[in-house]
Each structure stands twice: as structure tokens, then as C-alpha cells.
Symmetry: C2
Subunit: 417 residues, 2 copies
């Protein structure tokens, strides 16, 4: 079973938005055993849309489209699909009632443009969109399925989950796709590949290995397409276990686990608590933890101490130290972590202080210089890292290094018990 | 001049990563007057890559590829392009020396896999990648240009800026594309469209209008393709000025301005300072400001007060109030904002306290309930909002509402002076 994904909108082609819909649709399809063959984006133009849908229908069994379903003139997907399938637009009363109710609740006038949202090609099955005014549409022709969804990510996501996937599973008999990921840290891609070459060469032919490098980690993904899921999963378990014996020190975790999730799990399991004290990372580390459901079980508080005064007032950093060593210094990082740990009454605190740029760099401390510290029950450790030249990159990398340092300390303490 | 963008990698098709490269390449091309006709992603398979490149060369003058250039077996783009252009792989000594130096600096062994990074198709022009080990490659055939770049966003970005765009500008005589965006807030898309229908209908035919709705805002984009940039820019200025006269209360700003950038500009211009006190938004508001270069001019500090104790210790919230009214209450939001303003000695402080879920909701205060407050020089205002049902969405929306409240207060104070 093959699928193609087609996202529609000039805003994608001019780079005004990043297309996140394609990735989440791809995950839905993969989880159900449907292979995504190609992903395409075209503009809001009749010929482009028509040609892209036809091509996708030639190459795949299922085509999922998003975008171009808004109430305004520039959105033409619905009209184009009606033409393509030789169908006229008719009013769907359920959709019309829903749109009116939805707008009334939000105090928005029900006008001609909104009424047009209830027009759908007569030949399609309407997929009810509880979260928006543009309905989804399901077309079938010559055994192929074409589904058109609104481009608003939140609405698309609900329709994929509640309507599209159940219908695809009922309509087709699907085999399984298995993707499993092992995350390594501490080895460059080329060194990792050399170390595991024998293991890689001995993999069964139906398992495909991919290397996915990112700052600080290399993910190894094993994929098998259209197989019996359970036995393949067991085989991957065996292969990953063998791999862990080859590179025991370098395995960070599995699947989509991020460093913050690993720390989250460690702290939750050990019923320990955390505080953060951030300067250059500006709240990013706190935000990474608090984005995870259940963070309130261990995350007590965070301080974003941007000004020198706040470093002293909120975290008890000695103003003398700031004056002598500078705000970006090992000693200030240490005092920030220890101050946050003390103030919050937390088991661990992590701190960052650095120069995120673009201004503020000096010869001794260029942009990208970041000191980090972790204060724990037994000791405080510090680390100096050069985190790059771009502000966003520096914030990301400094957050990643600080989280890794925090994890190392928690694991060290756990091992010592 | 038309271009196609092709991103290569199984990780895109299975939804393991979101393809951000396409959007940034599209922005580069658009800025130089090159129309992006289509954007496609295919897997790491020889036939798929070959077919996609051929198709892109048929439809466009320029094809930009990213991905599949790593040192490991699963990356096959380079080999495939060599075959497609009938060229053999040869060693590029400059690249080889660069790779060896780069790895030495990072303490990584120079092995066979890395040596292969210096192999390039004999027919291509090598684009030197100062930031990574995989070089870019520039091919020409029958007047068409095909460029292959590494998939690491940071490396791709530098190569686009330093190598690809200057060469494209030198190689082709380009016209201009103009995109300009006006951001509205406070009107639903359909109401906005009705209010500005006369203006929209009177637009000159070479200006294309697009509506881009997002939570809380609708962006209006005017685009003109392959025109004389300066005169079109003036015409768009006139059109936007006319539009502002039609909906004066609803214009938020221009271009890619975000609410935090608008507040950033207001505070910078007025030389005023800011502190944040976040519970449910968990550092997101602080992180939004501190991501902007120059934030240290006004951003003094932020507190992520997740535990009740930290709300009292760090922000001076009365424990009685928390006990009587609950941590998610108007009074606690008010005390958080006022406490942060006082502690930091800031002109303004913004606070959030709410239930981000998935657990913690009650009948009176369901998941998504968020109280926010802004304390300023003259008064403190509070606002209650239902921010949705999904944790990530609640954090985003609560941050957006709190920022809008902050902006309103600063503008109100500015107008009162």
C-alpha cells in the first residue's frame, strides 16, 4: 500500500511557513503500515493542483491533500477537486448547521463566505470537522482514495485521527511497517559506522538501517516495510541488544526520547526534584521540561536571570564574583546552580551563563562561550562549551549540553547508591 | 525563472523529521526573484531520486536538492547524481584536506568513510562547505542547473548564502518577486474578507492576495511575481495604507513580526524593562523574548514558579491566597505579576497561571483554564482565557494571549503620555 501526500498553498512555496502537516500525516500512515512514497507541495493554482493529484493517483493507492479549503477567494482546492472528479458543489446541511453554531459561539457573523464552507462536491463523503469550519472530503475513483483536509494543523490532526485512519483501516487490508530507533551519543557518525560495520553487514536484508545525525547525537533507525510486525519487532529487539553490547557506553535511549524526557523519567522514577537557573538559554531549558506532561511532579521552579541584579537577588550570586570574574564565568555558573538548588529546595539544579550574541563577545569570551553547572546532593560540576555562532543555535546547543550534564550527574548519583 | 526543491531522505517520508530546509531554500530563491514551482520529498532510493531530478529538470530551470550526502551506506545521493550525469567519482584534494583538518580539531579519527566524503562527480563544480564534511555540488546540463547540498540545516543555510545564491545571480538575469505581509488581529477570516471585499476587488491584477489565518491573527499577503520590484513595492505601500484606513483597529504589524517582536520593539524604543512570572507556560514567554537579539536591553529576569512554594518564595504570592483561591486564580496571577515587577524592579511584568493538563483539571477549572496578568507602572490588569485541550496548544495560546495583553497595556500607557 502506497500513499502520496500533497500540501497545497503558496505560503509553503515561498517559504512563509514550514510544512509540518506532511510529517504528521506521514507518521499516521506509517503507523498503520502504509508506505509514503512521495510528498509534494504545490501552489494555489488550478492546473498545478490537478496535475499533482493525477500524478499522485497514478503512483499511489491513497492521496492525502491538505490546504486551500479556507472561505476566501485564494483557496481553490475544493472547486478544483469538484472539477477533477466531475462533480458539482452541493450544500451539506450538517456542515452548515455546525458552521453557524461554531461562529455564533465565537460571536462571529454568519455571512456568505461562511455559508460557502458548507458546499461540498456531490460525489464525496464528508468528513465532519468538529474543530473548524472547513469539512474534510473523501473521494474514491478506480479503487484509489483521495482525501482533502484543512491545512490548519490542529484540525487536520483531529480529522486524521478520528476520520481518515479508521476509514483507511476499514477500507484496505494493511500490512505493517516497523520503525525503531536507537539513540547514540558521543561518537561521530563515521566512527560509529566503523565500530558497528560488522553488525550492520550482518543485518537481515529486510531490515534497513539509517543514520540520522543531529547536534550531539546520532540516531540509528531500523525499518522494515509491509511485514508481520510482531516477529520483526522481536528481531529488532535482538539486533539492538547486540548493538548495545558493541557500544555500551554510547547508547542514550530509544525512539524519539529527547534528553529532557530521559531526565524527566529519571527524576520521576527517583522522586527527586529539579530547579533551573538560566541566563543565556533564557527559559528554554525550563520550557523543555514543562512541555512534558507530568513535569510538575519534579519541576519546582526556574529562574531566568538575565540581569546581573537578578542573578544576585534571586539566586544569591555574589556581586563581587560577577564584578571580578564576569557574569559569564565558571564561578557564576556554579553559584547560580547552587543558589537555585538552595532557593527551590530541589535535589538538582542546572545553570547556564553565556554569550548568545550577536553582540557582547570579546576576544577572551567570544559569542558562543557558555558555562554550565549542575548542583546535586553530593557535588557541583561545571562545564565550558563553545556552542556556535548563531543565537538560536547557541541557545539550542547550550540547552542540550546542560541537559546532558544533568543526566550524567543524576545517573552517577544513582550508580553510587 | 522557475525552481524546484527536492529534499531526500526516508526520515522525511516516515515523518521522523519535519523538513525545514525546503522553507528556507524557498525564501532564498524568492528573495532573488526565482519562483518556486514545486517542492518534493522522496526516499533514499536510486530510482526515486533519478526520476524526481529528471522531472524537476523538465519543469524548472534550477533544481535544489538537499540530503543523502552523509558518509554512511544509506546515503546515496552523490552516487546517484554521478550516474545520472554520466560522470565518475574523483577525489577533490581541497575537500579531503578540509575534512581531515576538521576531524582532527574535533578529535575524530580520519577513516575510509570520511575519505569518501572528498569524492565528487568529475563533472560538477564543488561548493566548499566550511561548516561540515559533505561538499555542495553544482551541475549544469542543457542550460539547467542542479545543486546538491547537505541536509544538515545549518550547513545547507551557509552554502545557500555563501555559494548558491551568488552563483545563481551571476548565472541568470533575474527579475524580482515581491511578497509583503500585513498582520491583522481581532477579526475572523470571513469577517475580515467581507470588510475588505471592495479593496480586494480593486487590487491591480498583478497583485495576488492571500489570507493566512493562525491562532489570534490573520495575515494578508500581497505577492507579485517577476516584476520591477521598486514600483511594485510602492504600489503595495499604497494598498496597505488604504487597507489601514479601512480596518485601523485591526492592524497588528507587518511582515513576519511576532507579538514578542512587537513588544520587544516597544520596550526597546521606550527604554522600559520587563520581567516574567510563569506557571503553566513554563518559561515559554521568557524563551520567546530571549531568543531575540538585543533582549538583554529590557529583559531583566523571569521566574518559572511551578511549585506553590516558589510562587511565594520567589514572587511573594501570599500562601493564604493560594490556599483559599487556588494557584490558578485571578488573585494569584495578579500577585505573581506584581511580585515579579517588584522583585525585578521592572516597568512591566507578565504572569500566567493555569492548567496545562493532561491531569489537574476540575469541573470549575477544566484543563486549559489560564489566568494571566500584566502589572505596569499605573495598574495591574488580569484576563481569564480557555486555551484549549492539548498541553502544547495550551502553552502556545496562553503565551500568545499574555503577550497580547502585555502589548495592549504598553500601548495604552504610551498613548496616555
Amino acid at each position: 500500500m502506497k500513499a502520496s501526500i500533497l500540501t497545497i498553498g503558496d505560503e509553503i512555496l515561498i517559504g512563509q511557513i514550514v510544512d509540518t502537516n506532511s510529517a504528521s500525516i506521514a507518521r499516521h500512515l506509517n503507523n498503520a503500515g502504509i508506505v509514503v512514497w512521495e510528498r509534494t507541495s504545490v501552489g494555489d493554482q488550478r492546473e498545478q493542483i490537478t496535475e499533482a493529484v493525477k500524478r499522485a493517483m497514478n503512483q499511489s493507492d491513497v492521496v492525502i491533500l491538505t490546504g486551500g479549503l479556507g472561505p476566501t477567494k485564494d483557496d481553490i482546492t475544493k472547486k478544483t477537486l469538484a472539477e477533477l472528479f466531475g462533480s458539482r458543489l452541493v450544500c451539506d446541511q450538517t456542515v452548515a448547521d455546525h458552521v453557524r453554531r461554531m461562529l455564533e459561539a465565537r460571536g462571529i457573523e454568519y455571512n456568505r463566505l461562511n455559508r460557502d464552507q458548507a458546499l461540498v462536491p456531490a460525489c464525496c463523503t464528508v468528513l465532519f470537522n468538529a474543530h473548524g469550519t472547513a469539512p474534510g472530503m473523501w473521494f474514491e475513483q478506480n479503487g484509489k482514495v483521495v482525501v482533502s483536509l484543512p491545512g490548519v494543523p490542529f484540525e487536520m490532526e483531529h480529522l486524521m485521527t478520528d476520520e481518515v485512519m479508521p476509514r483507511l483501516k476499514a477500507r484496505f487490508s494493511l500490512r505493517q511497517i516497523v520503525h525503531r530507533t536507537l539513540i547514540t551519543a558521543g561518537l561521530a557518525e563515521s566512527m560509529l559506522a566503523e565500530k558497528i560495520a560488522d553488525w550492520e553487514n550482518a543485518l537481515p536484508p529486510y531490515l534497513h538501517l539509517a543514520y540520522l545525525p543531529a547536534p550531539g547525537v546520532v540516531r540509528l533507525r531500523l525499518s522494515a516495510y509491509e511485514v508481520e510486525g510482531e516477529s520483526v519487532s522481536h528481531e529488532i529487539d535482538r539486533q539492538f541488544a547486540a548493538l548495545q553490547r558493541i557500544i555500551p557506553r554510547y547508547v542514550l535511549g530509544f525512539e524519539r526520547a529527547t534528553m529532557q524526557e530521559i531526565v524527566h523519567n529519571l527524576l520521576t522514577r527517583r522522586r527527586q526534584t529539579l530547579a533551573t537557573a538560566e541566563s543565556c538559554t533564557g527559559g528554554s531549558i525550563a520550557a523543555r521540561f514543562t512541555a512534558i506532561p507530568g513535569a510538575s511532579a519534579y519541576f519546582l521552579c526556574g529562574v531566568v536571570a538575565y540581569s546581573n541584579e537578578s542573578k544576585s537577588n534571586l539566586l544569591g550570586v555574589d556581586p563581587e564574583t560577577i564584578a571580578c570574574r564576569g557574569a559569564v564565568s565558571e564561578e557564576v555558573a556554579r553559584q547560580m546552580a547552587e543558589g537555585a538548588r538552595r532557593t527551590a529546595g530541589a535535589d538538582y539544579a542546572v545553570a547556564t551563563t553565556g554569550i548568545a550574541g550577536p553582540a557582547g563577545g570579546t576576544e577572551q569570551k567570544p559569542v558562543g562561550t557558555v558555562w554550565m553547572a549542575v548542583a546535586g546532593p553530593h557535588r557541583t560540576v561545571t562545564l565550558l562549551k563553545q556552542c556556535g555562532t548563531d543565537r538560536g543555535q547557541i541557545i539550542d546547543r547550550a540547552s542540550a549540553f546542560a541537559l546532558a550534564l544533568l543526566r550524567d550527574e543524576i545517573e552517577r548519583d544513582a550508580a553510587g547508591e
